[in-house]
């Protein structure tokens, strides 16, 4: 049987959810026996490939680049998992949402700068008005809350999905 494909990506988050994936320790070997990780911060691929079975997405949708990557991942994957509180609720990135983008950028890059004050425009993606949960931008099939989600929850979800079942979080559902 051909191996399944997992893609992961990291939008507006801290990478803690990816750390939690690695925190599965040796259990990740069992996952990799059934599937290859074909995209994400843990591998080299430059573009989200076609035909991904499970997309695991960390972080809120906060910039134009986040939105584009989320849409690409959705279009090229069978199942999308929102991994962690930022992807599920907006979490810490969404704490900027009560402040206008202009005021936010000025506060950080002008008022908060000790040298070279000025809002960056080159080489950085434009911010969206709000940092939103993933399901406000694309259709999400499975939500795994947690800051970060426990490795055991991620393992359970991946194992179930790779076996073609729908994961039931039950008592593993946890925010924060």
């Amino acid at each position: 049987m051909e191996k399944l494909k997992i893609g992961t990506c990291w939008l507006d988050g801290c990478s803690g959810c990816h750390m939690s994936i690695l925190d599965m320790d040796e259990e990740i070997v069992g996952v990799l026996e059934k599937a290859d990780i074909v995209f994400g911060p843990l591998v080299d691929a430059q573009e989200w490939p076609e035909g991904v079975d499970v997309a695991v997405i960390e972080g809120a949708v906060s910039s134009q680049d986040d939105l584009k990557l989320a849409q690409t991942a959705r279009a090229r994957s069978k199942v999308v998992v929102a991994l962690g509180d930022c992807a599920v609720t907006g979490n810490v990135p969404s704490m900027r949402n009560g402040i206008s983008r202009r005021k936010l950028l000025e506060r950080v890059y002008v008022e908060g700068a000790t040298e070279h004050p000025g809002v960056p425009t080159d080489g950085v993606p434009a911010l969206l008005k709000h940092a939103e949960p993933l399901h406000q931008a694309i259709k999400v099939d499975v939500h795994v809350a947690g800051c970060p989600p426990k490795p055991s929850a991620i393992l359970m979800v991946l194992t179930e999905l790779l076996e073609g079942r729908e994961p039931e979080l039950g008592s593993k559902l946890r925010f924060g």
């Binding site: 907006g90 402040i99 399901h135 809350a145 979080l169 925010f175 924060g176």
Partner: protein
């Protein structure tokens, strides 16, 4: 002599006293009905709508915390219909303010967080409101963060009914409703506040907390507040 009545909760016949509420009878018999604004020792107000139950012969849902039992009452505490309404009630609480568990002193000890997990709220289906809300740090010992307030009014009732100071009230209407101390005076300047801290202990979330605690550190002594009422009974 108090009148004894028989009621059915999820099919089981239970002896109760007339005047008790459905929630009191259920809790006394280890039947779980979720609730957020209810707290033992305080008057019940039916604000959070999480304790809604089905009562046979009544077409609408009734709040268990404010509905008194009567002879022959048959209550259903759990059904797909109730579960879907409870989820909606919780999701609407989340969209109304900015509840960010990851940076909250009460994470892991929060009743709102625990209820969402118990009721299987995996995500919130409605768009968030993202209001810009104040944090009142004027009190020397306590802090009030409106971002985390669910307007349950447990602090209002604790202060008025147990401490007898009535510092707190809810001002405004609808989405503009806000908890206020002493007619909009900052908490630190409220002359009627005795700084007893019972409001803080009664608060189900991290909206009220003692100063000086980090994320996940603010555990609350809710039983201590309820116990005051039970100890005063019969005096």
């Amino acid at each position: 002599m108090t009148e004894k009545v028989k009621v059915r909760i999820d099919g089981e016949v239970i002896a109760a006293t007339a005047g008790q509420t459905i929630l009191e009878v259920a809790r006394a018999n280890d039947k779980y009905i979720p609730a957020l604004c209810y707290m033992e020792g305080l008057s019940a107000v039916g604000a959070c709508r999480l304790c809604m139950v089905e009562v046979s012969g009544v077409s609408r849902l009734l709040p268990a915390c404010t509905t008194p039992v009567q002879e022959g009452l048959a209550v259903t505490t759990s059904s797909p219909h109730l579960e879907s309404y409870r989820k909606i009630a919780l999701e609407l609480l989340f969209v109304e303010r900015n509840h960010v568990c990851a940076v909250c002193v009460s994470s892991g000890h929060c009743e709102l967080q625990a209820l969402a997990q118990d009721q299987g709220v995996t995500h919130v289906r409605y768009p968030y409101n993202y209001p810009r809300l104040a944090v009142d740090t004027t009190h020397p010992r306590y802090v009030l963060d409106h971002n985390r307030c669910v307007l349950c009014s447990r602090c209002v009732r604790t202060c008025a009914e147990i401490e007898g100071a009535h510092v707190w009230d809810i001002a405004g209407r609808g989405i503009q409703s806000r908890l206020v101390s002493e007619l909009q005076r900052p908490w630190g300047e409220a002359t009627t506040c005795t700084s007893c801290g019972k409001c803080v202990q009664a608060c189900p979330t991290g909206a009220m907390a003692e100063k000086g605690w980090g994320v996940e550190e603010m555990t609350k002594q809710r039983a201590a507040v309820s116990r005051l009422t039970s100890m005063r009974e019969g005096q």
